[in-house]
Structures are given as C-alpha cells and as structure tokens.
C-alpha cells in the first residue's frame, strides 16, 4: 500500500501499462515535455521517449483520428484531452468512427483507444474547462464510458481501460487530482475488480445514493451528515457509466426502497434519467418514493464566482435525501 495523489496514481497506471505493452502510446497537447497541464503524464516522455509520449499539435480531431488509425493497425493509444470542453472538436471522430469501426469491419478490427478527459468543475475555470459531457458518450453504442473517483481506481481502471479492446472514454475528476488515497499496486491486473462493476462505498439501509467521479466525495460527506440525523445512506460509486451495472443498483434499491442519483452534469437528458427509468422498471414494487435527481442546472457552466451555486453541494444532496425519505 502506498499513498498516492490521483494524478500520480494515473501516472503510475500509465507507466505500468507502457512497461507491460510496447504498443501503448500516449498522445496529447503538452503531455510530453511539460507533462500535461495537470502533470498527469509527468516524467513519462523522459522515460519512454518522444515516440511513445507524443506532444501533438493542438488539433483534437487530428489527435483522436490519428489514434484510431494507430489502433486499427495494432497500437493502443491513450489520448489526453486537455480539458473536458476541448473534446468536442474530436466528438465527430469519437462517435462517427471510434464507436463504429468494429461493427463496420464485422468485428475484424479492434479499437483499443482510451480518451482521457479531466472532467467537472471546482477549479474556478469557467465553461470549456469545467464540464461534464459524459452523457453524450454514454448515449453512443460502441463506447465504454468510465469515471474514476479515487487514486486506487485511477491506477487500476486506467490500466483496465488501456487493456480493453473496446474504446473507452475515461473521465478523471480534475479538482481531485491532488487528493491522496491508498493504492495497492501488488495485485496483477486480472485480480482486481473489473471497471464495469459498480461499488458500494458505504453501506446503509434507508436510501441508496448513486453517483460517480467527482461527486462521490460529496455523496460520502452527505451520508456522514445524514447519519448524524439517524439516517442510514448507502452510497454507490457507479464507476462504469456504460455499461451500467444495473444489478448492483437494483440489489441496493430493493433493500433500501429509495434512490437519489447525483452528478454535476445538468439533469435534463442525463445519466440519472437513464438510471431512474431502469430502476423504476426493475424495482417498481420496492420503491417507497420516486427516484430523485440532483445535478447541475440546465445552463452553461458559470465563471468562478458563481460555480459554488452551480455545483450540487452537500445541502442540495441532503435536500433530495430528505424529500425522498419524506414520501
């Protein structure tokens, strides 16, 4: 066990993947000499060379398109998108080509591309730099979409994403890059929990609170606060947004009878809507209350002085918890 910050854990995960497989390449803007704007790739170019840790032009469509071509011919590129909002120039390549080439080749080519996206707000950096675009990708067949919420998952899920033969959109909660946590680097990759599985991060009996990525920390804090009021909240870190681990959710909701889903993305058409629909169908006779949702407002992400109002905080989560329990 070692204590690592999320950025360092992601770095260590990529290092281990690159040592294990010479076909793993890193591509992105300023990721080599600088080590990335968040320093997630710090030192990797020095150790693996300019051919494997590549400083690309500022051209997201070009970066992802080139990665697709490399993957078509046997490489495992990992693309860093500098900020969440910068993925949109590459959106076409991701949804039109990356997600679909396997089917178009009748399964004869694999697209093992990872697109790493620092996501979410909380760093005072306005729109383009604080967004939560996961629903766009989760909506697209052919893509896996995952979000890590702690250094251990950062370390392991990134290696699993790189080893995966499906394209993976990998979300990293950027405001938590320097939050530390324990990472056990001893096991082999096949021995750890698969990235497709959700995880109960706090057990409880009165209500299930589901979230992912940067909001897991807030959800745990909400559960602690609720406990002081005598309420037992079960917190689930979804980890994989597509595929959804529906079984883990239904198991929990059938025990608690109540579900709140929280994320930073605006709630309209968001992942929480999909979860609410599925759980309502699967757990209809177990539910004591409608599934409630907490999220960002349906408005562009605001500048720094306003972002605390935008981000779902402890109070907004607890308000939803109260409303669900009051039914």
């Amino acid at each position: 066990m070692t204590q690592l910050a999320l950025a360092r854990a992601l770095n260590a995960g990529m290092r281990r993947a690159m040592e294990a497989d010479p076909k793993v390449l890193l591509m992105g803007e300023d990721i080599g000499r600088l080590g990335g704007v968040f320093r997630v790739t710090d030192g990797l170019q020095k150790d693996f060379g300019e051919d494997r840790v590549i400083d690309t032009p500022l051209a997201e469509s070009g970066i992802v398109g080139t990665a697709i071509g490399l993957a078509l011919r046997g490489y495992r590129p990992v693309c860093e998108i500098q900020f969440d909002g910068f993925v949109f120039p590459a959106f076409d390549q991701i949804v039109s080509q990356l997600a679909k080439m396997r089917l178009r080749s009748l399964g004869k080519v694999a697209l093992p591309v990872v697109v790493r996206i620092p996501c979410g707000g909380g760093i005072g950096a306005v729109e383009h730099h604080s967004e939560s675009p996961e629903s766009y990708f989760a909506h697209t067949p052919g893509l896996r979409v995952v979000a890590c919420a702690n250094p251990s998952d950062g370390y392991w899920m990134l290696q699993q994403a790189i080893a995966c033969d499906d394209p993976v959109i990998f979300f990293e909660p950027k405001r938590q890059y320097w939050d530390k946590g324990e990472v056990d680097t001893a096991p082999g990759l096949s021995e750890v929990e698969p990235m497709s599985a959700a995880r109960v991060v706090r057990e409880g009996t009165d209500l299930t609170l589901v979230t992912y990525g940067p909001m897991v920390k807030n959800a745990l804090a909400a559960a602690v606060a609720a406990e002081e009021d005598g309420r037992s909240i079960e917190v689930i870190d979804l980890r994989s947004l597509s595929p959804l681990d529906t079984e883990a959710l239904t198991d929990s909701v059938r025990r608690t009878g109540r579900l709140v889903v929280a994320h930073e993305a605006p709630v309209f058409g968001a992942l929480s809507a999909e979860i609410a629909a599925r759980i309502t169908e699967a757990c209809f006779y177990h539910l004591e209350a409608p599934v409630l949702r907490v999220g960002g407002f349906s408005a562009p992400y605001p500048p720094s002085r306003l972002e605390d109002h935008f981000l779902p905080d402890l109070d907004r989560i607890l308000d939803a918890v109260d409303r669900a329990l009051a039914y």
Binding site: S61, I68, G69, Q97, R102, G107, K108
Partner: protein, 338 residues
C-alpha cells in the same frame, strides 16, 4: 520549384502487361458501377449510393501502383477503391444490395465498404475525417519500419474541412508514409468547388502550407496516375514523408443516386464525356498495337464476372434481424446494454 504534372503522360516505355491490367481494372470498375446503377433503377439497391463512373482511372492507377500490404482509406464513393484492392465483385455488389453474403454481411451498405483482409481499411462518409485515420495507420508503419504506406482518397470538398488540414500538418510534421489523393471532380456535391474555395486548385494550392510540393495529375489518364502514385509511394517508403496529389477528373453522373446532376452546364458535361478515361485508354492501347481481340476478351470476361456477381447477390437472402446487435463491442455483441 514545382513538380506540377498537369496533363502529362507516362514517359518511357510502359510495361504491356501492367497496361493491360490497368485497362482490365478500369473496365471492371466501369461495368460494375454501371451494373450498380441498373440495379438501383430496378429498386434492388435501397438507400443512396455514390458511383465512380468517370473516375475509374484514379482508383485503378493508384491501386496497381500500391503494394498488397499498403492500406487504402476511401470515401463514401468507395466501390471502385474497394474492388481495386482485390475485394471480389460478389460480396461488394451483395453489400450494396444488403445481402447476407455482402462484404459486411449486409450491415455496412454502399458507403462503408471495408475489407481488412484486402487492406481496404474503410470507406468513410464523414467528409475529411478519415485523413487523420490514414495518418495514424501510416504512423503504425513508421513505428514498425514495415515499409507500408497508407493511401487516402478524398474529394475536393474535403479540402475545406478542418480535419484535412489537421491531417496534412500531422503527417508532414511527423514525416508519415501516407499519400493523400484528392479526387477533384470539380463539384462539392452540388456546388462547383471553385465557388467555395479560396484558391484555384483545392488540394495542390494548399500543399505549400504543409511544406509539400503541389502535384496535379490528369485523373482521367491511368498511366499518368500510375506514375504519380508510384513516385509518391516510393517517396513515402523511403521515409521522405507524405505527398498530396490532386487528380483532376469528372463524375459522369450526379453526386448520388438522387441527383441527376442538372446543375452542370451541358457543354462541360459533353467535354468531359469526350475525355472518358476508359475509352481513351482503349484507344491508346489500340493505337500502340494491342490487338482488339485481346481487349474484347478482357471486356467479355469482365461482363461475365459482373453477371455472375449480380446473380449471386440477388439470390442471397438479407441478413437476419439479430445481425443488428453483433460486433458492437469487443465481446461480439451488445447484450449487456439492451
């Protein structure tokens, strides 16, 4: 300095066997596309399709200059490029007809012809997107030092989209073994390319921006295309980086099945029909002493192959409904999500 080669012919004696191959391939592409058109008219091809009638010399000239292990990336106007890489007629035609024995099991259709086993790495219907993919494949060849080259075909309209410029810059800055071939048929769908482009030569006039030499070739002359492609492929294999070739040609028909092409002036169409690449090549071979009987044998052999492919395609059933859910993810299906 420029290596511009407008309207030039191959210099020096051509290899007679290769020239007969070039003729055969052009006839195959021509007669396949004509058959595809006939089958549209019989309502056997559902959905749209984009034919290469009139542009055969480019597909044939480049493909025969390529090594078998080189890669092709093409556009939605990709029947000819797929056949030119050796994909048999039956699965290609069956794919157009949406049949189970199609190249993609009837799941891809006209615009997405792909055959990894023939190193035909796909037909792409998002204009310009695949130039970057070709750059990536070329990069894999550079990594492996395999000597392979990626060849990427695109239309004149693609030269105004961002991915074109991103790919050119990436390929040039990393000296990637890729040959970009602009099939300039003078029309971006329904609009004259000249009316929406800041320079007269949509591809060649952009070459200098990426440190490349402008290369323009008569896209209706298979020998000239073959020569220019050979030079560009050699350059890429030597490690001297990408080339941007503008092959000037003309669509005999409209943009797609739905388009009669009436926006083009009659005299322009007539002038280009008079420069038909296939009949011009036939005349050239005859003028250089090839026996007409030999050409007739080529033509009747191709006709028989097209007829056979038509029968085999029409007789096959459409794919089963379950095919929709296969090969979405690496586990072969999509069941975990549905």
């Amino acid at each position: 300095m420029t290596t511009e080669r407008t309207e030039t012919r191959a210099s020096g004696p051509a290899d007679p066997a290769r020239r007969l191959d070039l003729y055969r391939l052009q006839v195959e592409l021509r007669r396949f596309e004509k058959r595809a058109y006939d089958l549209f008219m019989r309502n056997l091809v559902k959905g749209t399709s984009h034919l290469s009638l009139g542009q055969e010399a480019i597909a044939a000239g480049v493909a025969l200059a390529m090594r078998p292990d080189d890669w092709t990336f093409a556009t939605y106007r990709g029947h000819a490029h797929t056949l030119a890489r050796g994909a048999p007629m039956t699965p290609v035609l069956a794919e157009l007809l949406g049949r189970e024995n199609g190249l993609l099991g009837g799941k891809g259709g006209s615009m997405h012809l792909t055959s990894a086993e023939h190193n035909m790495m796909g037909s792409y219907a998002i204009v310009g997107a695949h130039l970057t993919l070709a750059a990536g494949a070329a990069w894999s060849a550079q990594y492996r030092e395999s000597g392979q080259v990626a060849v990427c075909f695109f239309g004149d309209g693609a030269t105004n989209i961002g991915a074109f410029h991103e790919a050119l810059n990436l390929a040039a800055v990393w000296s990637l073994p890729v040959v970009f071939v602009c099939e300039n048929n003078l029309y971006m769908e329904y609009t004259p390319i000249g009316s929406v482009t800041a320079v007269p030569r949509p591809a060649a006039d952009r070459a200098a921006a990426y440190g490349l030499e402008p290369v323009v070739v008569d896209g209706n002359d298979a020998d000239a295309v073959y020569d220019v492609a050979s030079a560009a492929l050699d350059r890429a294999r030597r490690g001297d980086g990408p080339s941007l070739v503008e092959a000037v040609t003309y669509r005999h028909g409209g943009h797609s099945r739905a388009d009669p092409g009436t926006y083009r002036p009659d005299e322009e169409v007539e002038a280009w029909l008079a420069r038909d690449p296939v009949t011009a090549y036939r005349s050239r071979l005859l003028g250089e002493g090839v026996e007409e009987a030999e050409l007739l044998a080529v033509e009747s052999g191709v006709d028989a192959a097209v007829d056979r492919a038509t029968e085999e395609a029409i007789e096959a059933p459409p794919p089963s409904a379950e095919a929709i859910l296969t090969d979405v993810w690496a586990d072969g299906g999509s069941s975990w999500r549905n």
